[in-house]
């Protein structure tokens, strides 16, 4: 008789998982911010029996600030050439100066994009992998086993975050790194729920 109850619980789990997967999708592309059980992704020291459950990145809107700054930088040369007189600078220096300005603008955009792109969290059925890169020349990869999780908190604060439904998920751990932060991720409540489910299964 108890077997009947076990079957029913598994059925509910399957339904819940398909619901999560359906909402986010499994396919990864360059701008994916969240994926449930992403297909084809495998990281370097992933175990054979280890499955990636969740892939997250900060919400796309977090790029707005540097994007606007880059637009402003791109508009600086035409406006300065209109309003200021650069007649005293030889034409070849003006030309190379302009190229350097746009090269630096591109470098700024590219660096900011890469920082967003590689700032990911990967949750597997065994651990959490947190990749932080404050700038392109520095990388910090933290791993913590799911068994060391002590507390999970989802936090959505602020006008923009409330409207676009993104926020932080803080995971307190008993490991050497006291906290792992999923920064500005979409649907923080859902992510914390998935983490809670995994944590309970351990």
């Amino acid at each position: 008789m108890p077997d009947i109850f076990v079957t029913e619980e598994k059925g509910i789990d399957r339904e819940l998982e398909s619901e999560k997967a359906g909402a986010w999708g499994r396919k990864l592309h360059s701008l994916t911010t969240v994926a449930f059980k992403p297909a084809r992704l495998r990281f370097e020291d992933q175990d054979v029996d280890e499955q990636i459950i969740l892939f997250t990145r900060p919400h796309l809107i977090t790029n707005l600030k540097w994007f606007l700054l880059a637009v402003l930088m791109a508009l600086v040369p035409p406006f300065t050439f209109i309003f200021l007189n650069f007649g005293f600078i030889p034409i070849n220096f003006r030309f190379v100066g302009l190229l350097i300005w746009y090269l630096l603008t591109f470098a700024f955009v590219f660096e900011r994009f890469l920082v967003w792109f590689f700032n990911v969290e990967i949750v597997t059925n065994k651990r959490i992998l947190d990749v932080n890169i404050p700038n392109i020349l520095f990388r910090d990869i933290t791993q913590t086993p799911l068994g060391k999780i002590q507390d999970i908190t989802a936090e959505t604060a602020g006008f923009m975050r409330s409207i676009l439904a993104f926020g932080d998920v803080r995971v307190q751990t008993a490991g050497t790194v006291p906290e792992i932060k999923f920064e500005a991720v979409p649907s923080p409540n859902k992510i914390s729920q998935i983490l809670n489910d995994l944590w309970r299964e351990i």
Partner: protein
């Protein structure tokens, strides 16, 4: 003696010497800048290896390659045109 020539040239035509100094600064700056796109390519390769992102980040690798090519071109242009 060389210093004397440089000073006398500066006194004769200060503008020419000034732009020569600017050119040297441009070329040194661009030569130093060349390290940056190379580092970016190395970082992308490292992340591809660690996180397995090579399955979807080909546009980034392409952009990084173009960035390096453009940086080299601007450096050569500064050497030739200035």
């Amino acid at each position: 003696m060389e210093n004397f020539t440089f000073v006398s040239q500066f006194l004769e035509n200060p503008n020419l010497v000034l732009w020569l100094v600017v050119k040297i600064l441009f070329v040194i700056g661009l030569a130093l800048y060349l390290v940056f796109p190379i580092l970016v390519i190395r970082q992308i390769k490292a992340f591809d290896r660690i996180l397995g992102f090579y399955i979807f980040d080909w546009p980034l690798r392409l952009a990084a390659g173009i960035h390096l090519a453009v940086a080299v071109l601007v450096f050569l242009l500064a050497l030739i045109v200035l």
